[in-house]
């Protein structure tokens, strides 16, 4: 654990608590973007550059844009009575957290090469890739596309299905479009709405 690790983790914790406490939803969304960016930084330190920049692009980029568009449609402040401190959920959370921490006492140490995760499967994917893939440098891509190809096909289908579902929920029909004057070309406000 280096000083950079400590700083990033500290900022992560502070950001998370701030999101929990703040009542302005607009600010909370911005803090979520910062939170994603900080976790992307920690992932980079943990030797996962692929995941890191997916998280940076998704969490700090697209997710923030979607949240802000939602806020434009629903309003940006939380009701005051909904945001006050609640003791019972807090107790539940503390108890659950204590149990989870008790559970971690049996977990393997971080960074230890003899952890079970690094021993199985053997030989590791890094070694197998060199033989099977005719020397593909990026092992993550090899595992993603080839060894776990079925899995990735499933995930792609899930993304596709979620996209279809969003369209079904949000898209207006042609009649509705003309009722609100939202025909392409006729909308004068198009540039200012985002």
């Amino acid at each position: 654990m280096t000083a950079i690790d400590v700083a990033i983790l500290l900022f992560l914790a502070i950001t998370a608590v701030t999101i929990a406490r703040i009542r302005d939803l607009w600010a909370a969304v911005m803090f979520t973007g910062i939170y994603s960016f900080l976790s992307a930084s920690w992932m980079l330190l943990l030797d996962a550059p692929d995941v890191s920049f997916t998280e940076a692009a998704v969490g700090a980029g697209i997710s923030t844009v979607l949240m802000l568009s939602t806020l434009a449609l629903t309003g940006t402040t939380e009701k005051a009575s909904g945001a006050k401190f609640r003791p019972i959920p807090f107790m539940v959370v503390v108890l659950t957290g204590c149990m989870l921490i008790y559970g971690t006492l049996d977990m393997p140490q971080i960074g230890d090469p003899s952890d079970p995760i690094h021993i199985h499967p053997s030989p590791s994917f890094v070694e197998r890739t060199q033989g099977d893939m005719h020397g593909l440098p990026n092992v993550v891509t090899a595992v993603l596309g080839s060894y776990r190809g079925y899995d990735t096909l499933g995930e792609t289908t899930v993304v596709f299905t979620a996209g279809i579902a969003v369209l079904l929920i949000l898209r207006r029909g042609k009649e509705e479009d003309s009722k609100t004057g939202g025909r392409p070309g006729s909308a004068a406000a198009s540039g200012d709405n985002a």
Binding site: P49, D50, F53, T54, A57, V58, G61, I62, V65, L66, S69, T70, A72, L73, D132, M133, H134, L136, P137, N138, V140, T141, A142, L144, G145, S146, G149, Y150, T152, L153, T156, T157, V159, F160, A162, G163, I164, V166, L167, L170, R171, R172, D177, T180, G181, G182, P184, G185, A187, A188, A189, S190, G191, D192, N193, A194
Partner: protein, 155 residues
Amino acid sequence: MKTFPIIRVVTKILIPYILLFGCYVQFHGDYGPGGGFQAGVIFASGLILYGLVFGLDAVRTVAPPRVIEKLMSLGVLIFAGTGVLTMLLGGNFLDYDYLEHHVLPGILPTGQHLGLFLVELGVGVTVTAVMTMIFYAFAGRVQAKHVQAKQEPTP
């Protein structure tokens, strides 16, 4: 945002590089960090940036929703089609070893490389299209709400 010249100019300069970086991440994914998922997200964020700055109608002209809609399913079809192709060539589903060919060795990818290339391409196309389409859906709602508010001012 039509009134902010700095944002408009900077965006115009940045967007080609964002798209170029998206292509790099897509096609260099076998050799460095990257792949279809990341490239799709980066490509979509380039389009979304364009939409945010120049308006929904402008980005809809560049990437028409009718085309993007078809791309959503095309990506999954490329992925599944690669699997079916390997089956037709005599292997199992998604068994890229059967894509081995001897046309221009060393230039065209072959075998596992070719399979990964096709699969990542499918993933990239689907993710780009889905993210862009989701943005269109949300932004379209916001636009409709604005137009409605302009036509019927609330008392």
